[in-house]
Every structure is written in structure tokens, then in C-alpha cells.
Amino acid sequence: MVENGLENWEAQIRKGWLDVAILATLWKGRLYGLEILRELEGRSDLVIAEGTVYPVLSRLRKEGLIEGEWEESVSGHPRRYYRLTAAGKARARALARHSHEFLSKMDALIQPLLKEQTR
């Protein structure tokens, strides 16, 4: 029961943060799907099924936050490279500010619980 609740909570958290995380991976320049996935896997715990990232990319593109362009890899496979639009950059910056503030407060709030545990 507790485990189940934890899993649900984690699934919700992942879903909520995926947008921010994807926009953040594109901050420094364009990447294609697999590169975004590798970034997320290396630097976050957000991706469970790789296939969940592509629908999010599709939605962000329809919202005008990112744009995609097709290119062929050297081995001939199609890649869709994504980059932030001007609106996407503004959104990413706003989300980053909110996230930072939110996480700092949350962290301060849960600190006592973590100390309790180690005792």
C-alpha cells in the first residue's frame, strides 16, 4: 500500500517535471530525440519508458515552444533535431525560476524529516 502510493506519486512527479527537463536539455542548442533521452537518463530519474519523451516533444512543438527540423544521420537514419523557439526560451527561463524557488522551499521544509531518519 505504501509502496503503491510511492509509485503513483513518483509517476505524477515525473510527468510534471518532464516538460521543464526537456526544455532545459535544449537550452544550450539543438538536440535530436535520442540525445535528449541520453541527457535525461544521465542527469535525471525522469525517464522510465523512452517512448514517453516523444509525445511530450510533439506537444511542446505544437505549443510553439520548440521547433523540429529533419536531417539524415551519416548512416542514413532520419533525425528530427529540436531547438527552443523564442517563446520556448522565455518559458524555459520562467519555469526554471519557479522550479528553483519551489524546490528550495520544499527542501527547507523536508530537512527535519531527513535528520530524524539518520538518528
Binding site: L34, T52, Y54, R59, S75, H77, P78, R80
Partner: protein, 202 residues
Amino acid sequence: MSDEIQVRRAQIDIYLAALRKQLGGLPAEDVEEILRELRGHIAERAEGALQGSGTPVERILRELGAPEHIAALYRADSLVAHARAGFSPVLIVRTTLRWANRTAVGFAAFLAGLVGYAVGASMIVCAILKPFFPANVGLWIGSHHLLLGAEIPRPQGPDLLGWWIIPYGLGVGTAFLLGTTVFLRWMLRFAPRASRRVAAAA
């Protein structure tokens, strides 16, 4: 070796065919782009792009997730788009309400919509009530203005419509409801993207 390649290709084709089937409701060009992108993903992982060595196809497909799961995620976004283009007054009013919180134009559109729906609904209510309260429901010439509705006591002066209030009420009332919906949908094209999406998803 070539057998192995064929088996791999068959696995990928089966997976993508299942996904294509599940994506049925989406526009054809969206489906092609989705499949093209995922085919590229599978091919590159199989060749070991970005990780050194190739990954078995079974594992790539497993890590992508079930076709119906991915398709459901794509379709969820498409439903949002459908809702925006839809004719549900509830959705449209909700969307306009979000917009009304942001700008004066949005607020004006919301007010106009509210009045339009209220007038339309009250005409239909009058038509429905007429058979039950024939004396008290009608359209009268008041001292300064026209009076429409259920009045107790019955106002002085002639009832202009009599029983005709039923067909007129239903017809004009429905026209008001439809007209208001069309008007709001048209107005919503001027709303910022974000509020359209948020409300549609709600």
C-alpha cells in the same frame, strides 16, 4: 546473419504497424512523422549510436514501451486539439472564462457570451413553461418596454405572441445559443494560445 537481420526487421515492422494502428485517429502526416522519428530511434539504438555498442531490438522496443501506451500519449494531445475545435458550450465558456481573467477583451467576450446564453436559455424555458402556465408566460408590452417571461401576477396589456411563444421561443432561443457559441468560438481565435490550451485541457 542475414536471417538475423530479417528477424530484427520483422520485429520492428510489427511494432511500428501496431503503433500505426493505435494512432488511427490522428492526421495522416502526423502519423508518418511519428513513425519516422521512432524508426530512426530504433535504428540508431540498434547500431549503438551514442552508447558504443548496439542494443538488441527486443530491449529497444521494451524500453520504448507498449505501442498502445505511446499512442495513448499522442492521442491525449490530439483530443485537446479536438476539444478546441468542438462545439461544447461548457468547454467554450470555461475557455473564455480563463481568458476573461487576463484581458479586457476576454472579459467583454465572456460577458457577451453569458448574456447570449442566458437570453437563449430563457426563451427556451418560456416556450417550455407556456403549456403549464398559459396565463403567466408571454410577451407583453409593458409601460416602458417589452416584457418577456413568466410574470406573476400577469402584466396588464395584450400578450403579443399567445401560443406562438412556443415555436418562436424554441426557434429564436436555439438560434441565440448557437449564435453565441459561434461568436465565442470566433472570438477565441484572438485569445492567447496558452489560455486556449489550459482551458481545453481542464
